[in-house]
């Protein structure tokens, strides 16, 4: 493992599988009466959030606390980009306080990379979402969810997602979740297809390791998992698509469309969902939809990442990892 987690593209197949396997160990902690490990006792982790995200912050915080880390929450919403020095100054302040890891969410693409590479601080940096660039722990929790559902909880250990067909639908252009997932799923051997109106696909997408389609109905029957991306209503005003209803008709997932998916296929969403536009209540509430599991899995994945980045050389919980490690 490397010292930082900035981009899903930085993970090798073995790194990624190690994280997923470690997360399975971590998930068992959640089943215990006392959901806590002493692993990061005496370590300080700061959640540095320049952009609102209650869900991600709480998920990281839960992960940190379950590993017994000391947690500092720092929110500095709004002012960061207009006052660029705040990132550097804030980082150095935290460094001076002896922080071991920084979990950073920032509105500017590349901010975590700058934090990790500019010599401003020594702490490990974990990207909790930067601009429209990357959100690697989201991709990891998505892959974890897919592996559990499509392969199995125990059967999946040591496995990647080879041969699985994953479809991502929606605002790819502005989505760090899409970028992270394309990178990670490709690394894990999955076949990825992006589906969106052409206005929401970035120029330059042809270099990505995936296919692009404008036709959701054609792709659905060939999908093992369909991940709906959030579409912000304000995109409509910027002429990315004509109306909410037209978007919904062409790219929304409703019960009829879900019926065209293979029986085993799952529906995913990083949340928060815009019900009625990108996904209907019928789909969102169906047993095939994994939104709630994704949230729970997020804590396990973040525990695994924190544990591995902060020097976890020994198996975190049991010795189940030992065999997998020897394969490398």
């Amino acid at each position: 493992m490397q010292r930082h987690l900035i981009s899903a593209a930085d993970l090798t197949r073995d790194d990624a599988v190690l994280i997923l396997d470690t997360a399975e160990e971590m998930a068992r902690v959640a089943d215990r009466p006392i959901k806590k490990l002493p692993t990061l006792r005496g370590r300080t982790v700061v959640n540095l959030f320049f952009e609102d995200s209650t869900r991600t912050r709480i998920s990281f915080e839960a992960a940190e606390k379950r590993l017994s880390a000391d947690v500092i929450n720092f929110t500095a919403k709004g002012s960061s980009v207009s006052k660029g020095e705040s990132l550097k100054d804030t980082a150095q302040t935290l460094e001076a306080m002896g922080v071991d890891a920084v979990v950073i969410r920032h509105g500017a693409s590349g901010a975590p990379y700058r934090l990790a590479t500019s010599g401003w601080i020594d702490a490990a940096v974990i990207n909790a979402g930067d601009g429209t660039h990357q959100h690697p722990t989201q991709a990891l929790l998505d892959a974890f969810t897919m592996r559990r559902r499509l392969i199995g909880r125990d059967a999946g250990l040591g496995e990647d997602l080879s041969g699985k067909r994953i479809t991502l639908v929606g605002d790819v252009l502005h989505s760090r979740v899409a970028r992270s997932n394309v990178d990670l799923l490709h690394t894990l051997g999955a076949h990825v297809t992006l589906v969106a109106p052409p206005t929401l696909v970035p120029v330059g997408v042809e270099s990505w390791p995936c296919e692009v389609s404008y036709d959701l109905d054609a792709v659905l029957p060939k999908s093992d998992a369909v991940m709906m991306l959030r579409v912000q209503r304000e995109r409509m005003n910027a002429a990315f698509f004509p109306t909410e209803r037209e978007y919904s008709r062409r790219y929304g997932l409703d019960g009829d469309r879900m019926a065209r998916m293979p029986e085993h296929a799952i529906v995913m969403h990083p949340g928060p969902m815009v019900r009625g536009m990108e996904i209907t209540a019928e789909v969102a509430d169906s047993p095939r939809c994994t939104v709630v599991e994704q949230v729970a899995n997020g804590v396990s994945i973040r525990m695994a990442v924190l544990y591995l980045l902060l020097g976890g050389n020994e198996p975190a919980v049991s010795h189940a990892r030992a065999n997998a490690s020897e394969e490398k």
Partner: protein, 428 residues
């Protein structure tokens, strides 16, 4: 009268000759000139060029003296071999009145390192709505002939048309920053493969090309001349080539950094590479070099854009756009154009002195190296190799993309009207 004999220099890269300066003028050029009573500068092996002229410099004074002043900027220019620079209008206050341009002009004359020829804003406050007093700026002591809202595009077609027509009265030229504003909202870097991956807002080539296409057609329609600032894409080259073949009076410039660097560097998220227009692709770089070689692009202009450290030592999106360039321009041109065989030194003189002086109507600059001409000269040690150390810059700012990079060539001497501003690489 002071006399300086430059002995054995390759004038414009040709056979070694001696050049005798008397007072502010070149007295004679020949072989074996007498050194009698003259200070001798041994120049064997070096290349002597007419003093370089930069049609696109940001001196920041008035208003942003923390990044550059007329004094520090002209010292940087002299270090880079320049004897005249055209100072862009996007200062605070904007150079949109006779008063501001005269102040900038006067500071240049007082400091004496380099002639400063102010560029006047096309529109009041660079707001693109109302023409600035172009005639008054021309008639001022600064004698403004080049007008530009650089940093912003004159995007209103009617305002652009009027400006092009209006400056014909006094032989002026409008220098356009070609950037369609709606297509570049939120733009952070070249739109393409790298921007898609990095998740940074794209600045598409078509935003530049569509404005250039419009403006050359406007220039043709009203019979005016137009100059395109910092052209950066292969498509822009094609449009300018077409316009010239049609007889349209268009000139164009390319910056040194667009001749050398590509958007791949943005993968570092290091804002030192953040510039407007953005660094493009390898294909664009090669097209720009070819166009500069064949004359489609007329000149090299630095777009020297100094910024204080704090405006670059931050996350990419928050960083200011621009790079300093005066002190490295000739080296970059040597590497990208001379050492690749695309241009000889006479060609460099054409594109970095003669032609920019002609476009900007800079009196006394861009003149031949011959008897009776003003002694505006630059001596270059072309054999020099060394890595760029911004700590040694005369510019107040250090935002160079070349820190630690090895570049060839070094300006050793610069003379402004016979007065040395740079001797053995040191400012006087």
């Amino acid at each position: 009268m002071s006399k300086i004999l430059i002995r054995g220099a390759k004038v414009l890269g040709g056979e070694p000759q001696d050049v005798l300066i008397e007072g502010s003028q070149i007295a004679s050029v020949g072989v074996g000139l007498s050194a009698d009573g003259a200070e001798v500068v041994e120049a064997a092996g070096k290349v002597l060029l007419p003093g370089l002229v930069d049609l696109h410099t940001h001196l920041r004074e008035p208003g942003r003296e923390d990044s550059e002043t007329v004094l520090t900027g002209t010292r940087a220019a002299a270090s880079g071999g320049y004897t005249a620079v055209f100072a862009m209008a996007n200062t605070f206050p904007v150079a949109d009145t006779a008063g501001v341009v005269e102040q900038v002009y006067r500071l240049g004359q007082e400091h004496g390192y380099c002639d400063v020829q102010p560029i006047g804003a096309v529109t009041v406050g660079l707001e693109g709505k109302k023409l600035a007093e172009l005639g008054a700026m021309h008639e001022s002591a600064a004698g403004v002939t080049v007008f530009s809202d650089d940093g912003k595009c004159v995007d209103d077609a009617v305002i652009m048309r009027r400006a092009l027509e209006y400056v014909k009265a006094f032989g002026g030229v409008v220098a356009q920053h070609a950037q369609e504003p709606r297509l570049t909202e939120g733009a952070q870097m070249n739109e393409g493969v790298v921007s898609a991956e990095l998740g940074l807002g794209g600045w598409p080539a078509v935003a530049e090309e569509s404005i250039i296409a419009r403006d050359v057609l406007l220039a043709e329609h009203v019979g005016s001349r137009v100059h395109i600032c910092h052209l950066s894409t292969a498509g822009s080259v094609e449009i300018v080539r077409w316009a010239k073949s049609r007889g349209i009076d268009v000139t164009a410039e390319v910056t040194p950094h667009h001749l050398l660097l590509t958007d791949e560097l943005v993968r570092s998220y290091n804002p030192v590479y953040k510039v407007n227009p953005p660094l493009r692709t390898e294909r664009d770089v090669l097209a720009l070099r070819a166009a500069l070689a064949d004359g489609t692009i007329d000149i090299v202009a630095t777009d020297h854009a100094p910024h204080p450290h704090e405006d670059k030592d931050c996350e990419w999106a928050a960083a200011a756009m621009g790079m300093v360039g005066l002190e490295t321009a000739l080296s970059v041109v040597q590497e990208t154009m001379v050492e690749t065989g695309l241009l000889d030194w006479a060609g460099v003189a054409e594109r970095m002195s003669f032609k920019p002086a002609e476009i900007g109507r800079a009196k006394g600059h861009g003149r031949p190296v011959s008897a009776g001409e003003p002694a505006n000269l630059t001596l270059v040690d072309t054999a020099y190799r060394g890595s760029v150390d911004p700590a040694g810059f005369a510019s107040r700012s250090r935002n160079t993309p070349y820190e630690g990079r090895e570049l060839p060539g070094r300006v050793t001497h610069t003379w402004l009207r016979g007065k040395a501003t740079l001797v053995d690489g040191k400012l006087t």
